[in-house]
């Protein structure tokens, strides 16, 4: 064991290059054709299938599985893409056990669902690996639409609009498109640069241009977009991380989990990425798990996730929790941070109070404990970075929308995490972007709205 492995503090190179490579391989390797046929054969082709209902994008799952089973995986991919153009990413990151697979009647039959996510990946990977783009644009309409945010909602919206013959310009604050697909998801879920490859593939439809490093409120104003375009779609996500509201939060080694995840994704050489020996992750959602697991995979010796409510209220699915546990992450529930303890500007431990949930409210008890920490990640939810003055927000601080993403401002739509409603899932964002695009198209072209899926 190298000395670096047990070095205190935040250091790089805790593991060997081989160990890192093994740790960050594809967490769910793609199905081979034989595996796919076997898995597809298990689908019962249910009537009015519960899996379709459970999918926020309403993919016709029994149909695409039957298409795989009958040897036409490309047709299966088209069934998926018609409902969900980011079906490739969703196949990798969807919490399927809470969605399609959780609803699969095989769960009742033998507690083992049809492997819908894996089959979706099988179909979509196959088609995306081929030359060209499978959708054709309609005749040009001459309409121009601004999409702000190149995350799942914005990309989905842009593709649907481009397909209908509109010209779309996507603005994104970051250096690369993809949003959380590129910056906010564990590396082992989307290996080999899939997020960028998917954006490039999606752009293959034509009629979409992306302008990166253009942030709303910094480089752009909503007013200018309204003036320059026929419609605006906001898919700007939630740029700010909620505060712990605990003493010591400002220490240098108390960081946002999403930043850590983003840094890891953008890091060319994991050997150079520093990680603490004792890492504490505060939060119970997918982001918390992605940060905690990757901290372990980078070589952190002790990684503890602490969530203030009960285990069944965690945002992370059971599958995610099990995955974290299998990677050696310790999960503590029913405890909330009260103070980060440290020296100068440097955290050394986090003090937690056990909580009691009374009528839905979390109360701190006098029962305390401390966790040693040389690195603390906050993953306790995100919020809109800068409220947009003109837009009506909901009580929870998100953009208020009605119907398919209509905001309080005429010709401005919103979807994805920044908009009220939904589950802050990639797949929900895709559905909202798509549905807003249908609504925008209907409004601009004077057509009745048709929501697919």
């Amino acid at each position: 064991m190298s000395q670096t492995r047990l070095s205190p503090g935040i250091v790089s190179g805790r593991l060997t290059p081989d160990e890192l490579a093994a740790n960050f391989t594809d967490v769910a390797p793609p199905l081979a054709p034989h595996e796919a046929r076997v898995a597809a054969d298990r689908c019962y082709f249910c009537h009015d299938a519960p899996c379709i209902t459970a999918c926020p994008t309403g993919i016709d799952i029994p149909l695409f599985i039957r298409q795989i089973a009958t040897g036409t995986p490309d047709a299966a991919a088209m069934t998926i893409f018609h409902a969900n153009i980011l079906g490739g990413m969703c196949a990798r990151v969807c919490p399927t056990e809470n969605l399609c697979e959780g609803a699969c009647v095989r769960m009742d039959a033998e507690a083992e669902p049809v492997r819908i996510g894996a089959l979706q990946r099988y179909a979509t990977d196959g088609l995306m690996a081929q030359q060209g783009h499978p959708f054709r644009r309609a005749d040009p309409t001459g309409k121009r639409i601004a999409v702000v945010g190149a995350g799942p909602a914005g990309l989905s919206c842009a593709h649907r609009l481009a397909a209908k013959g509109h010209d779309v310009t996507i603005f994104d604050a970051r250096g690369k498109p993809g949003g959380l697909n590129e910056y906010g998801i564990a590396s082992y879920k989307t290996v080999d640069g899939f997020a960028q490859a998917e954006v490039e593939w999606l752009m293959g439809i034509g009629g979409i241009t992306i302008e990166t490093r253009k942030a709303l409120g910094r480089d752009l104003t909503l007013e200018s977009l309204q003036n320059d375009f026929d419609a605006v779609f906001l898919g700007i996500g939630l740029g700010a991380v909620n505060a712990l509201r605990a003493e010591g939060e400002g220490f240098r080694n108390v960081q946002d989990a999403v930043d850590f995840i983003g840094d890891l994704r953008q890091c060319g050489d994991l050997l150079s990425l520093p990680i603490g020996r004792d890492v504490v992750v505060i939060g119970g959602g997918m982001t918390a798990v992605d940060a905690a697991v990757q901290a372990r995979l980078l070589g952190a010796e002790n990684v503890t996730m602490v969530y203030r409510r009960t285990r069944d209220q965690m945002g992370a699915s059971q599958h995610e929790q099990d995955h974290a546990a299998s990677k050696g992450v310790r999960i503590i529930t029913g405890a909330a941070p009260v103070a980060v303890i440290g020296d100068d500007d440097h955290a050394e431990a986090v003090e937690f109070a056990y909580t009691a949930v009374v009528e839905g409210q979390v109360h701190l008890t006098e029962n305390r404990f401390r966790l040693k920490a040389d690195q603390v990640f906050k993953a306790i939810g995100q919020r809109l970075e800068k409220p947009l003055d003109a837009l009506k927000l909901t009580g929870s601080g998100k953009i208020a929308v009605t119907g398919p993403g209509r905001t309080s401002i005429e010709r401005v739509w919103a979807g994805g995490d920044c908009a009220a409603g939904g589950d802050d899932l990639t797949v929900t964002a895709v559905a909202e972007g798509r549905d807003a695009a249908e609504d925008i198209d209907a409004r601009l072209m004077g057509r009745p709205v048709e929501i697919p899926g």
Binding site: V38, Y44, C46, H47, D48, P50, D108, A109
Partner: protein, 432 residues
């Protein structure tokens, strides 16, 4: 523990499971391994006349129909009779029989349809020690083009003639193997009986094209771009075989003629079904070709277990279901059942609903929460819901109690009455 020893037309074997005449029984090596695995008997792959042996194609001989997970449901072949010299086969048969005197060893034969050919071949096999002969009047491909196999089996007069020759020139038990590629299997069975056959065995394979290669536009198996029909066998043909066995078992002219049941037997249960319909023993091929010889061990333990639990001897099973095979016009039209869905067992897939709503009698309702309920007022008891339900015993058919009113017709259930007496039957009126 139930005794599975079998005596079929005087041929004794430790169990009623024989391997049918086919590739698995083509040579000594295979047959020895089969006997080691526990097979009660073997019908040696069909021998032809002396002289240069037949030749087989050098491309694929088999086509297949797969079920889920590539389970072999049906197999089709274009292989001919043995392509090895007669004397080699005879020597091997003798050697195997000498080492396995307790096992049944039958020789399948197919020679041209003339008396000399049959007399000669029977003479050649005389001193092999074999227990009997099976006349291959069944193979529907290749040999039939040369006036043998099913070309004989399709003409009852030929069957009778050849059988008579065989009985004349041999003292061995004679089993006539029938082709299913005919209209009424009772006719060839009658002919075999008239000719003096000790038994019939059925079915041989069914004329078939298993699939078409959609790139080559040729039937499969494809030999250099062309395909010929082959003989179909395996689980898919079992229902056809069962019916033919039952037809012979219950036909007044052939009743009591021993039957060796063949056709898609894959498990002990399949075997038991054939025997219940009148087969005195069974022959297996496709299952062994799919899984190897070891499957006989499951067949032996399964049949024994069944007979033990039902306190039956093997002879009690044979033919036990024959009296219950009848004509449609004898079925009780006052027997009424209704589908019942076990809500606890239901996994809510809705297949029963789709099947009934789209293709049957709209007798299943889909209630909120995906609760599926039978509408007795519409249910004609067709059983389709039972058949498509993926959960065993989730949907069952409930028999109405005597005098209970059928909610569909509003008529209380009556006693036995069949079509011959039904008022809608013009013939029943004529009989008055």
């Amino acid at each position: 523990m139930t005794d599975l020893r079998s005596d079929f037309v005087g041929i004794k074997s430790p169990n009623p499971f024989w391997l049918a005449s086919a590739p698995p029984t083509d040579k000594e090596y295979n047959v020895r391994r089969a006997f080691q695995a526990g097979w009660g008997g073997v019908v040696w792959k069909t021998l032809g006349s002396e002289g240069p042996p037949v030749v087989n194609v050098n491309g694929p001989r088999y086509g297949v129909i797969h079920g889920p997970d590539r389970r072999v449901l049906g197999l089709n072949n274009i292989e001919l009779i043995t392509d090895r010299p007669l004397e080699v086969n005879l020597r091997e048969i003798k050697s195997v029989k000498r080492d396995y005197p307790d096992r049944a060893l039958i020789i399948s034969l197919m020679v041209p349809c003339d008396e000399d050919s049959w007399r000669d071949i029977l003479k050649r096999i005389e001193d092999t020690g074999a227990d009997g002969v099976e006349l291959n009047f069944g193979c529907p491909h290749g040999m039939s083009e040369r006036g043998m196999g099913s070309a004989v089996g399709q003409v009852p007069e030929y069957i009778e003639m050849v059988t008579r020759w065989v009985k004349q020139y041999s003292r061995m038990p004679c089993i006539v193997k029938l082709t299913p590629n005919i209209t009424d299997v009772r006719k060839p069975a009658e002919a075999a009986k008239r000719g003096g056959a000790d038994a019939v065995s059925l079915i041989n394979t069914i004329n078939s094209i298993t699939s078409v290669d959609l790139d080559l536009f040729a039937p499969q198996p494809t030999i250099d771009g062309k395909g010929a029909h082959g003989g179909y066998c395996g689980p898919a043909v079992k229902p056809i075989a069962l019916n033919m066995v039952a037809e012979i078992a219950r036909h007044p002219e052939t009743r009591g003629l021993p039957i060796s049941g063949i056709g898609g037997i894959t498990t002990w249960r399949d075997a038991a079904e054939f025997m219940a319909l009148g087969a005195g023993n069974v022959q297996v091929c496709t299952a062994a070709m799919t899984y190897g010889f070891k499957i006989v061990q499951e067949m032996i333990s399964g049949l024994r277990d069944y007979l033990d639990t039902h306190d039956m001897a093997l002879s009690d099973l044979i033919g036990r279901a024959v009296p219950n095979v009848t004509d449609w016009n004898q079925l009780n039209l006052n027997y009424v059942t209704k589908a019942v869905i076990d809500q606890d067992a239901c996994i809510k897939c809705g297949r029963c609903y789709a099947a009934c709503e789209d293709t049957s009698h709209q007798a299943i309702a889909m209630r909120p929460g995906r609760v599926f309920e039978v509408i007795e007022e519409e249910c004609v008891a067709c059983n389709l819901c039972v058949d498509v339900c993926p959960v065993e015993d989730c949907i069952t058919m409930r028999e109405l109690a005597p005098d209970e009113t059928d909610l569909r017709t509003g008529i209380p259930r009556g006693g036995y009455a069949n079509w011959t007496t039904h008022p809608n039957n013009p013939m029943s009126k004529a009989a008055e």
